[in-house]
């Protein structure tokens, strides 16, 4: 193969596909990216056998072909060339990368050893606004577990809910639910969040097609395609956890609450909770760490319900408040030992259910 393209464009497609490549893979071939040139287009594929990212670039083609070269090194080599046109030319087992003077010659890997990855047909795909989906995923993704011992909880549930697409994630301490209205889909699939986290950085945020298959989920934009193996498991029955209504309702300014919890977190260690004493006129936040000291402050707000004190892990509370996309936050509670529900005062399409800490 032999192609010519602008450095920045080439560096971009190599780096984006390279994000699927794991440096810890036991198979050397998976540390490479597959370059395929035909019909005036370069297709770059990176995979770790679980997540695959494919990116595309229109290039000036002298000769079609395919080659596998080390992912990180190739992307860095192109990125560090002088600005301008870059040529990639494969010859006798080496890929020559030249542009503006410098010349790299990288040993090619055996292209036939690269996993055969065919693109699934997107016939039954659903169309979404990529930017909106990525934002929604980042909201619920904070609640996804990173513990591989419970693989089901490392994923985000995609579920049809009437005329909405519902996204759900939980690590068993908190649960994030986001409804995307106007996106109709059927059935449910669990997609690993570690792959979804990469959507924006690999295939961009334009108009996006999603296919939720039995084995794989595929996300396609004009910039590329990300496919990931779905998690074959039963998601916890979260519906029963979402309350019909709470007896107590606190409404406070989001930024003020974030700042207050941030100050409390200075004193708290991760496992020391912040207490929220809620009563008419607002909430008093208090954190006590025996060997260090304490912090207390009052935050004005609207409160309807019985006076109550509840405690939350500061990090989990901060995550939830941050994820609410509204100026005012509502915290609904019913009992110091039952989960509290956070959502926006106006926007209720995102809900964050958080278990308290026992006082």
């Amino acid at each position: 193969m032999r192609i010519r393209a602008e450095r920045d464009d080439l560096a971009d497609v190599l780096a984006r596909a390279g994000r699927a490549v794991s440096t810890r893979s036991p198979l050397p071939i998976l540390q490479g990216i597959l370059l395929e040139v035909s019909g005036g287009r370069l297709t770059v594929t990176g995979t770790d056998n679980e997540v695959t990212v494919r990116t595309y670039l229109e290039v000036e083609v002298t000769e079609d072909g395919r080659s596998v070269i080390p992912a990180r090194l190739a992307a860095e080599a192109v990125r560090k060339l002088p600005v301008g046109a870059v040529t990639l030319a494969s010859n006798e087992g080496e890929m020559e990368i030249t542009g503006g003077g410098p010349r790299f010659r990288l040993r090619e890997m055996v292209a036939d050893d690269f996993p055969k990855i065919s693109d699934v047909a997107m016939d039954d795909s659903i169309q979404v606004d990529g930017g909106q989906l990525i934002r929604a995923l980042s909201q619920v993704g904070i609640a996804a577990s990173t513990d591989d011992a419970r693989p089901t909880l490392t994923g985000v549930l995609f579920e049809g809910e009437g005329d909405s697409l519902r996204l759900v994630a939980t690590d068993s301490y908190r649960l994030g639910v986001r409804d995307l209205d106007g996106i109709k889909t059927e059935g449910s699939k669990i997609v690993p969040y570690r792959a979804l986290r990469e959507l924006g950085r690999t295939i961009g945020s334009g108009s996006m097609s999603i296919l939720l298959g039995d084995r794989e989920a595929a996300f396609v934009t004009a910039d590329g395609r990300l496919t990931v193996r779905v998690i074959d498991a039963t998601f916890p029955n979260y519906g029963q956890l979402l309350p019909d209504g709470h007896s107590n309702r606190l409404t406070v300014d989001k930024e003020a609450l974030l700042e207050a919890v941030g100050r409390a977190a200075l004193v708290a260690e991760d496992h020391i909770p912040v207490r929220l004493a809620m009563h008419a006129g607002g909430v008093e936040l208090n954190v006590v760490r025996q060997e260090v000291g304490e912090e207390t402050e009052f935050l004005e707000g609207e409160y309807v319900g019985d006076d109550m004190t509840i405690a939350f892990n500061t990090r989990y509370l901060t995550d939830g408040v941050n994820a609410v996309d509204d100026e005012k936050i509502v915290i609904e509670t019913s009992d110091p030992l039952k989960p509290g529900l956070l959502h926006g005062a106006e926007k209720t399409d995102f809900q964050y259910l958080l278990m308290p800490v026992r006082l």
Partner: protein, 219 residues
């Protein structure tokens, strides 16, 4: 322990065929029968090896190591540069770090975390090649050997497999099945363990310690 440094070729015949061409190498024959061929690099990992039990047949310049599955390691020697044999005696084994030892203690107190109905017979149960972390009895009365690691890697599975080999020779205990427990188990280790009929269990150290006992769960 018998050690030989010599010019040699090594041919493995078994699940696949592998060949090491002529070169100078270190060959170790351990008291338990393990044979390992090392190059001058690569840390602990031999170029090729045959785990015990096996039989070493010496025929002039050729050694043939055969295991019960019929796999063969054939070493053909040229010039022998060095050879020595020395009895090393019983090894005290690895001194476990604090977390691993603590993990073992916590699991001994709550073996049901590993498997429902599991009861500990003895911690650090001795075998001729070292102590297995926990020897347990399952709900059906079967014997279970549990090896505990912070990080579950292939060498931990190999270690448990060796213990099982010896434990299953004891008619009072046999059949003994293995459970490999770690905070995180690498995919390769899991694959090897499952291939050998060993069950893998990942445990949460913080949860076992009760560090988050005040943090309530949704489910």
């Amino acid at each position: 322990m018998r050690i030989r440094i010599a010019e040699c070729t090594v041919r493995y015949e078994g699940r696949l065929d592998a060949y090491l061409p002529w070169a100078t190498r270190l060959i170790m024959v351990k008291a338990d029968g393990c044979v390992a061929v090392h190059a001058d690099g690569g840390a602990y990992k031999p170029l090729n090896w045959m785990n015990a039990p096996n039989t070493l047949i010496e025929d002039g310049d050729t050694w043939t190591v055969v295991n019960p599955k019929g796999e063969k390691l054939i070493i053909e020697f040229g010039e022998v540069h060095f050879e020595t044999t020395r009895e090393l005696g019983e090894d005290p084994g690895l001194v476990k770090d604090g977390v691993e030892l603590e993990l073992q203690r916590l699991l001994a107190e709550t073996p049901e975390v590993i498997e429902a109905g599991l009861k500990v017979i003895r911690r650090e149960y001795s075998t001729p090649i070292g102590p297995v972390d926990l020897l347990c009895r399952d709900s059906d009365g079967g014997t279970v050997a549990v090896e505990v690691k912070r990080r579950g890697e292939i060498d931990g599975v190999e270690q448990l497999d060796r213990y099982l080999e010896f434990l299953n020779r004891d008619s009072r205990l046999a059949p003994v099945r293995g459970v490999f427990v770690a905070q995180v188990i690498k995919p390769q280790a899991r694959l090897l363990a499952e291939d050998r009929g060993i069950i893998c269990v990942q445990v949460d150290y913080d949860e076992l310690r009760g560090a988050d006992s005040d943090l309530l769960r949704l489910f």
